[in-house]
């Protein structure tokens, strides 16, 4: 029963997917079986329709190839100019992605999705350009031929005999929002071809003529139709899943493809991608680097890396693992990632080694619960180049400086010399032992090549000098042939073993060296307090660890990059444009990546837990040296360590400034309250003493009482001034913390009128508040202060007997407007804003008391609440002060437990 219900995780991921999709542009692909079926034409027609509907359409790149109909369609559409890129002395034209991003149309047309960009463009492939356009929210129309699909590449190559190198990964095709199949029967296509309506590049005309055979075209058409049908089928499944038509829940039994050093990894990857697509499961591709595999030649490793990259493009999650036992690592990885099917290449049958267990068998034996799928590797030497690397590697391993060879020859001669006199004393068998020892020593000292040479030389010397007939290579006793063979084999085996051991020791020591360097760097970084120190440490580490020059480009809080941090050794020249790209996209760019691989520098974003802190730019002496997996891992660790160090330094700064701020705030507050206390205490005493004068016995006379009252009034006025000044100082220093609570405006209006009652005795105050006024969130004390100041103002500047009205209403943008209006003489013209300035008064040198702080305080308080305050004259004369407060979301008042007793309601 539970199967019927959708998995909440799945629902969640679908919602997320939809969100991401909503923000992305939409990709529509016009898909055809071959060139000439009219994809571009169809695309342009669709675009014209969009234009008619008012969409902002721009042509990024469309090749009309001189076809009349197509050119006609191009007319009247806005066309982006192409970018000129110098390449080997020629200027080549390429799609201008920056121009397109800057123009930001609603829809852009980009022909030939599979096109490879000229070296020096931002991305090596056009589809990567399109991805970037999509992620910045631009819709894209594009065209693809069936032979350009990555996983169909082999198949189409097999049918037509022509391999294309420009491919589009299937995930791009499958990820497209819409695919329109542009279909043309082969006969019509051939007719068009005859009429010259199909564009063919000149250079390969014959090959292409070969391509356009009817049989090929039918096959291609079938492929295109099938691929489209597959897509539609997937959509149907997707639809059913979304609409919950039937419970077709996928078991997430994903696929794991293993890449080895052997041949045909690319084919395994492509097949695995196809299987994964058929099963509709995600898949992984891993390469396990065992100590033996570290001995592979550079070109072999490059090939493995290329396969991994291919897998990545085909939508796999890739990883390069490192460990002693490949089978063990693979099984662990599969278990960890819940991958139930393991795809491996089938090993060649080894009749001469019947005990040999294939990789697939080993997995099967150790993890019987996992499915193992064996795939055929590429059969036949389809590509000659593939054969070379192995030889190269063997030669590589035998290679050694000539001195070593000379030394091993010398070794041999020395052994012979030593053995000469001993020959009379010892048995011949022991002499042979002596020669063996020489081979072992040579291999320990000089490596495999010299050791092999020594083995052969020693056998020869032994034969020549000691085996009778002596001083001749002839052998009288056949027995000695056995001795030679054993000697040679033992010599070679020990040579290989010691060489292998030495190699592993070297690998281990270099790994240890790297670890030590990393450890030292992290130790240094942990002590760094400034970005400059971090830059210097990373510069040092990059130089020793990678032989590269490094620079750190820091980003500020607004996400802008600055000039690289200066270090004593100087920094490589950095392209800030690529830097910014790497930073904005949070992805690596520059040499060895998909983005601007032509750049001599590699840019790695420094991702720290909170945000990207900047970019690490590396200028390697040998770009390829950065591509090895262990180097990549080291580089990742390096970038991570630097990022964390930068973040730590950043937060040290933040903590320092916060401490300083807190300290100064504390100081300011204590100063203000000290001043306030010191000023108010004597004033309080003054008021009180003036009062108590009236209470003294005998009672003071009328005049004395009058003086006492005047003293009291002046002291109170002084107090008001001091309060205003201190409040202004507090507000300006930002020392006022709003105590926001949900308040009834009516209440604050009432209390402000009550507070000002003494001043308002000569005025009529009316309140006009709507009944349905919501609760407002504000600091009641401060807003009362605003209202009191406005009332005070109104009382001061209007003649006695004037009326003052306080009101409120719903204002603009969901704010509540609150006003204080009088019917006095109004504000002086043109002064409506000035009166809110400090020490500014409506009437200069007037008899009205005050320093002009009241309204400035009002403004400061209202603005602290996120509102505005303005003044103007009413049409009827008189001044009107209006301030707004944000409405917010008032909390509900639960009155369910408080119901009128029913009998009370009836009476």
């Amino acid at each position: 029963m539970t199967d019927q219900r959708p998995n909440p995780d799945e629902l969640l991921s679908r919602i997320k997917e939809e969100e991401i999709r909503a923000a992305r542009g939409k990709l529509k692909i016009f898909f055809g079986a071959s060139a000439g079926v009219g994809k571009t034409y169809a695309m342009l027609s669709a675009a014209r329709q969009q234009v008619q509907q008012g969409t902002d359409v721009v042509i990024g790149v469309v090749e009309a190839h001189g076809r009349k109909e197509t050119e006609m369609l191009l007319e009247g559409l806005e066309c982006l100019s192409l970018k000129e890129i110098p390449y080997r002395g020629k200027m080549l034209q390429e799609f201008d992605i920056d121009g397109a991003l800057a123009r930001k149309p609603a829809l852009i047309l980009i022909d030939e999705l599979a096109h490879s960009n000229v070296a020096g463009s931002r991305h090596p492939k056009r589809w990567q350009d399109v991805q970037e356009l999509l992620s910045s929210g631009i819709d894209v129309y594009s065209t693809v031929n069936v032979q350009h699909l990555e996983t169909l590449n082999d198949v189409v190559g097999g049918i037509t005999g022509i391999r294309v190198w420009e491919t589009v990964p299937d995930h791009v095709f499958d990820g497209a929002d819409e695919v329109v199949l542009v279909d043309l029967p082969p006969d019509e296509l051939l007719q068009r071809l005859k009429e010259g309506k199909v564009y063919l590049p000149h250079q390969a005309e014959r090959a292409i003529q070969n391509f356009f055979r009817k049989g090929n075209l039918i096959a291609l058409r079938e492929l295109a139709l099938r691929r489209t049908a597959d897509r539609v089928d997937n959509q149907m499944i997707q639809y059913r899943r979304e609409k919950f038509v039937t419970p077709v829940w996928q078991t997430r039994e994903s696929l794991l493809a293993c890449i080895g050093p052997g041949e045909g990894s690319d084919r395994i990857i492509r097949s695995a991608a196809r299987i994964a697509a058929k099963l509709d499961v995600p898949w992984h591709a891993v390469y396990v680097e065992t100590p033996e595999l570290r001995q592979l030649s550079d070109s072999q490793r490059q090939r493995i890396l290329k396969s991994l990259k291919l897998a990545q493009e085909a939508g796999a999650e890739t990883a390069s693992l490192s460990g002693g036992d490949a089978v063990e690592m693979i099984i662990n990885y599969a278990r960890e990632h819940n991958l139930a099917k393991i795809v491996v290449g089938r090993d060649h049958a080894r009749a001469w080694r019947p005990w040999y267990r294939s990789f697939a068998d080993s997995i099967g034996k150790r993890a019987p619960d996992l499915d193992v799928i064996q795939l055929a590797r590429e059969e036949g030497p389809s590509d000659k180049r593939r054969e070379d690397p192995t030889d190269e590697s063997l030669l590589d391993r035998l290679k050694a400086p000539w001195q070593s060879f000379a030394m091993s020859v010398l070794f041999c001669a020395l052994t012979t010399l030593i053995a000469m006199p001993l020959h009379t004393v010892f048995e011949l068998a022991n002499i042979a032992m002596l020669f063996l020892l020489a081979v072992v020593l040579a291999s320990v000292r000089y490596g495999l090549g010299p050791a092999v040479a020594a083995a052969f030389l020693n056998v020869a010397a032994f034969d020549f000098f000691f085996v009778s007939p002596r001083f001749s290579f002839a052998v009288s006793d056949v027995q000695y042939l056995m001795t030679f063979v054993v000697m040679l084999v033992v010599g070679l085996v020990t040579a290989k073993l010691t060489a292998g051991l030495k190699f592993q020791a070297r690998v281990a020591s270099s790994r240890e060296q790297r670890m030590r360097a990393l450890y030292e760097m992290s130790r240094d970084l942990s002590g760094a307090l400034m970005p400059e120190q971090i830059a210097e440490i990373s510069q040092r580490f990059a130089a020793t660890g990678f032989g590269a020059r490094a620079a750190i480009v820091l980003a500020d809080d607004a996400g802008r990059l600055h000039e690289p941090v200066d270090v004593p050794g100087g920094v490589p020249s950095i392209d800030l444009g690529i830097c910014q790209w790497a930073f904005d996209h949070g992805a690596e760019a520059g040499c060895g990546t998909d983005t601007l691989p032509g750049s001599p520098l590699l840019y790695i974003p420094l991702k720290a837990p909170m945000r990207i802190r900047g970019v690490l730019a590396l200028e390697p002496r040998h770009p390829r040296s950065l591509m090895a997996p262990e180097q990549r891992r080291l580089l990742d660790t390096l970038a991570r360590l630097i990022a964390i160090a930068l973040e730590r330094v950043h937060y040290v700064d933040v903590a320092q400034t916060t401490t300083v701020q807190m300290e100064s705030e504390r100081l300011r507050n204590s100063l203000l309250s000290a001043i306030s206390h010191d000023l108010r205490t004597p004033l309080s005493a003054l008021v009180g003493l003036a009062d108590s004068m009236l209470l003294t016995q005998p009672q003071p006379s009328g005049q004395q009482a009058e003086i006492a009252a005047a003293m009291r009034a002046e002291a109170l006025r002084m107090n008001a001034l001091v309060s205003n000044l201190l409040d202004m100082a507090r507000l300006q220093a930002g020392a006022v913390k709003l105590n926001r609570q949900w308040q009834l405006l009516e209440e604050v209006v009432g209390s402000s009128i009550k507070a000002m009652a003494a001043i308002l005795t000569q005025h009529r105050v009316s309140v006009r508040l709507p009944d349905d006024l919501p609760l407002l969130e504000f600091d009641a004390v401060l807003i009362e202060r605003v209202l009191a100041n406005l009332l005070d103002n109104a009382a001061k500047y209007t003649p006695s007997g004037s009326s003052i009205e306080i009101g409120a209403a719903l204002g603009e943008r969901g704010n509540i407007d609150i006003w204080v209006e009088d019917n006095g003489p109004g504000l002086p013209a043109g002064k409506e804003e000035d009166i809110f300035k400090k020490f500014e008064r409506g009437q200069k040198e007037s008899a009205t008391p005050g320093v002009g702080l009241g309204l400035a305080i009002c403004r400061a308080i209202v603005e602290a609440h996120g509102g505005e305050i303005h003044a103007r004259n009413c049409e009827s004369g008189g001044a009107r002060f209006v301030f707004s407060l944000p409405r917010g979301n008032p909390p509900a008042v639960d009155s369910s437990e408080d119901i009128l007793p029913p009998e009370g309601m009836r009476s």
């Binding site: 008021v687 105590n739 308040q743 009432g750």
Partner: protein, 230 residues
Amino acid sequence: MSEPLPVIIVIEDEPTIRRFVKLSLESEGCQVFEADCIRRGLIEAGTRKPDMVVLDLGLPDGNGVDFIRDLRTWSDIPVIVLSARTSEADKVEALDAGADDYLVKPFGAAELLARVRAQLRRRAHVHGAAQSVFEFGKIRVDFGRRIVEREGMPLHLTPIEFRLLVYLTSNADSVLTHRQLLKNVWGPSHAEDSHYVRVYMGHLRKKIEDDPSQPKHILTETGVGYRFVI
């Protein structure tokens, strides 16, 4: 001398203010004892059997709030707080600790005496017999029958409004903080919902005040709470 003179202790560190307060209170016919710090104040309060304490919050040997807490463990005499500070939080703290009223410096003799009189009167009320009917303005509250009338017409109050009114009237002239009102009318679980108090206070004012925006009985002490006056 039918009635003994009320005894008041003034705890204030400023001699001039202390003098003025003493002068004013004595003119009202009170017996005043002075103290200039908390320690001294506690001794006076313990030995003089005072009827009231007038207390400054900022004292050299500590916070006046501590004095109130200490005093409230053994006495319920009225406490009026003198506060030189603008911060409402201090007043609320003092009131929550058990103070009955407060005065903000500078204050005049008339204000001080009015508050002192009100508190002394309330104390006399509390010690008198409990009333079953309470009248103020145009309102008549019959606690026993749970009836409220305005100019003879019955007034319909919800249970909470009634509880609120009863609590206000029984603490007339004292400042009640939002927290105190919430705790006593709504119960301890609502201690943080101070907007409840405001909303219900608004309802109650509409029912018993002539002009709810300029109330005569339920006065707002902005940022602190409410005061009910007859």
